[in-house]
Symmetry: D2
Subunit: 134 residues, 4 copies
């Protein structure tokens, strides 16, 4: 059986954009993205969808870390500062480990630790177990 971290390698979209899962443990997930020209929007800053995706990857890791399949119901992202080229990090903390409707907060920062965006989301736990192990 794959480890949870290997399991998340199956996220083709994360792979397409270059987002990598760095760490996953109960109630926690951390991901990063090396922002380069291909992630920029028309005004030359990192597109919101790229920031959202790396945050969502960290969120998915945190809420699926208990090995029950959990999908997103809704997510809110608030942009604090424009993101530029270089690494950005997304760190997710599951604030509510609810049996049905978990909630996590993800903080996206740049290499210096400055907050770029805050992402919060509610998940929905399904009945299936994840085919992975910690």
């Amino acid at each position: 059986m794959p480890t949870l971290k290997e399991y998340f390698k199956n996220d083709h979209f994360a792979e397409l954009i270059g987002a990598e899962l760095l760490e996953i443990r109960p109630g926690y997930g951390k991901a990063r993205l090396l922002v380069s020209q291909k992630h920029l929007n028309g005004v030359g800053t990192c597109q919101g969808g790229a920031i959202f995706t790396v945050a969502d990857l960290a969120f998915a890791a945190a809420v699926n870390s208990h090995l029950t399949v959990t999908v997103s119901i809704s997510a809110t992202i608030t942009y604090v500062r424009a993101a530029h080229e270089g690494y950005i990090y997304a760190e997710a903390v599951e604030k509510v480990d609810h049996y049905k409707l978990p909630y996590a907060e993800v903080t996206v920062t740049d290499e210096e630790g400055a907050v770029l965006a805050i992402f919060t989301a509610t998940g929905y736990r399904k009945k299936q177990q994840l085919d992975a192990e910690i």
Copy 2:
């Protein structure tokens, strides 16, 4: 000077994932994405970040359609149904054309018109004009 629609071709991230802007007119934007295997997540459905990005492109079109540079402050996405391979469409309507803080709603649907997600966001209008024409 480019047209607004040409202007949005500069969104490299939209290009990377394959999202296309179809239409832009005052207070309105429409985009689409051909969901294929590269947009799927670990559970085989379209990754939330891909849906978010096509919605965000339509949003950006709608709120920038008045030719004043407008960035996003925050966005909320609610997922209604899992999205699968095939075209998905994002249609943005600017519900509040505020001089400083516009607001738009984006409905994401599949080829049959079934709602996949609803995205709402608040923008922040800057002082610069966009280097484009309608």
Copy 3:
């Protein structure tokens, strides 16, 4: 058995603040509040919580209109204009009548029809039926 509209008279908090349900039918709810001095905040405009509450009453009506008990999971309110003394109206439209996770949008307007706030929320349908009839 009470009608649905009578059923909503049991909302003590709506009564405390003076919010009234005007109309309820499948997928739709409308409420109003006569904003007076007691609803104002420290800067002399209608407090966000008062606007939220009248919107939430309209939302609850719309998502409970199918006679299945439905509670809120999360709600987002975006303020467009400051609200002053006089009637404000909240009109809720259930955009997604999902068997488990319905979604509705509420538009709050003043007496002239100017938009004051937009409220969107996701509900969670329980298994119980409401003890009321249309």
Copy 4:
């Protein structure tokens, strides 16, 4: 000149529903509400608008604590557990002290410290100073 805490006594709506500001210091606010029958909805739990209002009071305190008038642009509340009669507490932490668009998170808990709701909001700083002192 009044202290900031006295200044918030001018929130008539908070007074109407019984929400009290307990503490305010730079980047932080804490409020509480004694939930009684008048705060309940039709299904016998604390109405969402009452929880929202006490959270919003704590938020307003945190983002106005730097003595610049700050209003709300948008807020998202996620309900975790139904709230019943007894004290509930709302604790706001300003996570982003941005000169224009601050962001704070409010955690609402019951007397035992169980999380009832999480509220996040973005403010808009005006140019006026608050007529109060720390």
